[in-house]
Amino acid sequence: MTYAIIGSGNVGQALAYRFARSGISVSIANTRGPDSISDLAKKLCPAVTAVHLQDALNADVVIFAVPFAAHAVIAQAIATWEGKTVIDAMNFREPSLAPLGGLQSSEFVAKSLPGAKVVKTFNQLPAALLASDPAESGGRRVMFVTGNHDEANSAVADLVASLGFAPVVLGKISDGGSLLRFGGPLVLQNLIKLGS
């Protein structure tokens, strides 16, 4: 399984830190080219590699850590999304979903990525907390996962666990997605899961 982070802002960098700390290889790209990320990659080598957007999109699992509106640009950068898992780590920062036709933001993203299995996670913590060690107070920080494809949810939950978090799968977007929307009750919650 190969992973790529698209976006090198606060969230993209935070995720890169977690991959590096966990010793899991990941490539990272933005629309400005790998030179703009070389400092970060140097600091987090060898796990994190700065690459061109096109190369990053070859990964099996592509993590969108860009501002919400930018997902449409990324969506156009590859001929087919068939077979890929896309992690939606973005937030649609508007109180109303009307501009998305009433869809949850992950469903809206999925529409522009035909063939991809979209899973929402990594969107729900402030970047500084996302970057910090998820092992805390004898437990692990919770990371909620939701998506309309059960197998992709499980695979992403495994990744989330490998990065040190306690994944809690909320099921389909219609079940858990609305709870993870911007302003939703499970967003910005610093929860530590104790026990097994």
Binding site: S137, L170, D175, L191, I192
Partner: protein
């Protein structure tokens, strides 16, 4: 606001313990009568008051901590539930989806208590964990709250907070209630909300 717990099994006892610890007065009743709860009340002090079922049902907030099927017996013990908040702290162990007719269990309960505002909470932890001090490592144990009535949900979130937990309101029963129902992903999770 007056509170009562119906049921003196593991969950009812755990809840009584939290009320006592938080210094909030609560009535407690079962179908066997107050004498059967006297030893517990003696242990927990003056805040926990053994009552007859009829007296307990006079409370503003009635917490159902009985086996799921027993809720109908409680429901028929009072003429009108209008204006009351009923907390569904039950779980549907051993109850088939067919028996629930595919509905969320809290919706089944709601149908038995016409006029009441039903809130699902206090159901989601094993009784032993429910009884423990919710203050852990500088944080507080999470208690999810779900209801189709936003006001009642907020009210019970406040009670849950007064009992020392960190309430998280999940909203309507068809989403949040399912997640804290049997087999849901937010049930039996020992989560500590950090300050």
């Amino acid at each position: 606001m007056t509170y009562s717990i119906i049921g003196s099994g593991n969950v009812g006892t755990a809840l009584a313990r939290q009320f006592a610890r938080s210094g909030i007065t609560v009535g407690i009743a079962n179908t066997r009568g107050p004498d059967s709860i006297a030893p517990l009340a003696k242990e927990l002090g003056a805040k926990v008051v053994p009552q007859t079922l009829q007296d307990a049902l006079k409370a503003d907030v009635v917490i159902l901590a009985v086996p799921f099927r027993a809720h109908t017996t409680v429901a028929s013990a009072l003429e009108s539930w209008s204006g009351k908040v009923v907390v569904d702290a039950m779980n549907t162990y051993g109850v088939s989806p067919e028996e629930l007719k595919g509905q969320a269990s809290t919706d089944v309960v709601a149908a038995a208590f016409p006029g009441a505002k039903i809130v699902k909470t206090l159901n989601q932890l094993p009784a032993k964990l429910l009884a423990q001090d919710p203050s852990v490592n500088g944080g507080r144990r999470v208690m999810f709250v779900s209801s189709n009535d936003a006001n009642a949900e907020a009210l019970m979130a406040t009670l849950v907070a007064d009992l020392g937990f960190a309430p998280i309101q999940l909203g309507k029963v068809n989403v949040g209630g399912m997640l804290i129902g049997m087999g849901g992903s937010l049930i039996l999770q020992n989560l500590i909300k950090q300050a």
